[in-house]
């Protein structure tokens, strides 16, 4: 075989699979570093450009999009503007900030009313693997004078 013997290692002796594995590991490490760089760039590019706090109009518009046909009877905005909770019949409509967007779920009103309150924050279980709970800054929760 050409090249075999004095100068080159015979092909059989080459640990080829190890080289492939090493290449894959290097590729993975470089990709991970690239991911870190891109995330850092995204953080830099979006600094100071977060979503504005929710106000009544924005919250109602979002609720209308997420729950078309549901009539909002009362609306509570989170003190930090990062969510809202509305009563619509026997349901509580919940908006909670996700990055610069929102996730929306509805739960029975009783559950929302009985939710745990701690340090002015309400912890509402949503019973959904994809959205396990909403945490809303509602210091005066639960509301008084509302029939369940």
């Amino acid at each position: 075989m050409r090249g075999e013997g004095f100068f080159l290692t015979p092909p059989k002796a080459r640990p080829r699979f190890r080289l492939v594995n090493a290449a894959a590991l290097i590729q993975l490490a470089v990709s991970a570093a690239a991911v870190a760089l891109m995330v850092a760039l995204a953080a830099w590019a979006t600094r100071g450009r977060g979503a504005p706090p929710l106000d009544q109009a924005a919250a109602r518009a979002l609720l209308a999009d997420e729950f078309p046909g549901r009539r909002v009877e009362r609306l509570w905005l989170a003190a930090d503007g990062r969510g809202a909770l509305a009563k619509a019949g026997e349901a509580a409509l919940v908006l909670t900030r996700m990055g610069d967007g929102y996730a929306a779920r509805h739960v029975p009103w009783d559950r929302a009313q009985a939710a745990r309150v701690e340090d002015g924050r309400v912890f509402i279980p949503l019973s959904d693997v994809a959205a396990p709970r909403a945490v809303l800054a509602l210091p005066d929760w639960p509301p008084k004078g509302l029939a369940t």
Partner: protein
């Protein structure tokens, strides 16, 4: 196991460079793109881990293709131009049906939902790939190509080409391309519709490279200027926990089966949102309700 030429690996530096370019140019207002830090981190990590997860099943799927190829009907040469044209068309048709199945049946949606779970639409969203696609077994759909007689490496290369093609269409930076291109190819505009959660846009534009399949099979929907795309899922994620992002639909499906095992077939193979009592939203219902709301003001006006 991969083909000798892997277009996705070759394109990875291009992916990285263009994501960086999109972020920087958007930062200075030179093009339209919205990034959010945690969302970007999830998308890119999903992509990174999916490349590892894919290796776990790639060997089995490639071995299956090789075995099928040994029982092939024809022998199609990898060196013929006509063979590449044919594999391009047939692979793209296969992709259409794979993609449609992945949206319309929950078992496969559980694997594909990850790709749609971002509320953003940018180049990083393209890299938000499944970890469980191999386990879901959708690679079986490509086996008939090997049975026909396309060498497995040829099919693998064409699948890679399709994936690379679909990368650049995940952007808001390109509004519309010239009409002949929009008529034939999947474009950023068509694919924005596919990622939108507006009822009008749900379950539309499944194409990989050629949009003609959607036109042929009745699933085409053009992007409308009067209805901006809202991206994400019908019920958007309420967490950035990457394990929940990756597995939430599988877990939800398992919980449903444990709760009501006699409906196991419906839970597995019904459309996403299917329940025995109709208490959740399916795409069909959301579209019907939306159409009814659209028709209501018209009836009142008449």
């Amino acid at each position: 196991m991969k083909a000798a030429i892997d277009p996705v690996t070759l394109a990875t530096p291009f992916f990285i460079a263009t994501v960086i370019l999109e972020i920087v140019l958007a930062r200075f207002g030179a093009l339209k793109a919205h990034y959010e830090t945690k969302d970007t981190a999830i998308s890119l990590t999903m992509g990174l881990v999916s490349s590892v997860a894919g290796l776990l099943t790639a060997g089995a799927s490639f071995a299956a293709a090789v075995w099928i190829y040994q029982h092939r009907i024809f022998t199609i040469p990898m060196t013929a131009v006509w063979a590449w044209v044919l594999v391009f068309l047939l692979e793209d048709l296969t992709y259409y049906w794979f993609h449609r199945l992945s949206h319309e049946r929950r078992f496969w949606w559980a694997a594909h939902v990850n790709h749609h779970s971002s509320q953003h639409y940018n180049l990083s969203t393209a890299l938000r790939q499944t970890w469980t696609g191999g386990v879901a077994g959708t690679w079986l759909l490509w086996l008939p190509l090997s049975l026909i007689g396309f060498p497995p490496a040829m099919v693998a290369i064409q699948k890679g080409v399709s994936l690379v093609y679909q990368y650049w269409i995940h952007t808001e930076a390109i509004r519309r391309l010239p009409r002949p291109i929009e008529a034939v190819f999947n474009t950023p505009s068509h694919h924005r519709v596919h990622h939108a959660r507006n009822p009008r846009y749900l379950d539309r534009n499944y194409a990989g490279i050629l949009i003609v399949w959607d036109r042929m099979f009745g699933t085409f929907q053009p992007e409308l200027d009067e209805e901006a795309c809202r991206y994400g899922l019908v019920h958007n994620l309420g967490t950035f926990n990457i394990l929940r992002v990756a597995f939430h639909e599988w877990i939800g499906m398992a919980q449903d089966i444990v709760r009501q095992p006699r409906h196991v077939l419906g839970w597995l193979f019904g459309p996403p949102g299917w329940t025995p009592d109709g208490s959740r939203d399916t795409s069909a219902r959301l579209k019907a309700e939306w159409a009814a709301r659209q028709a209501a003001p018209e009836r009142e006006a008449a």
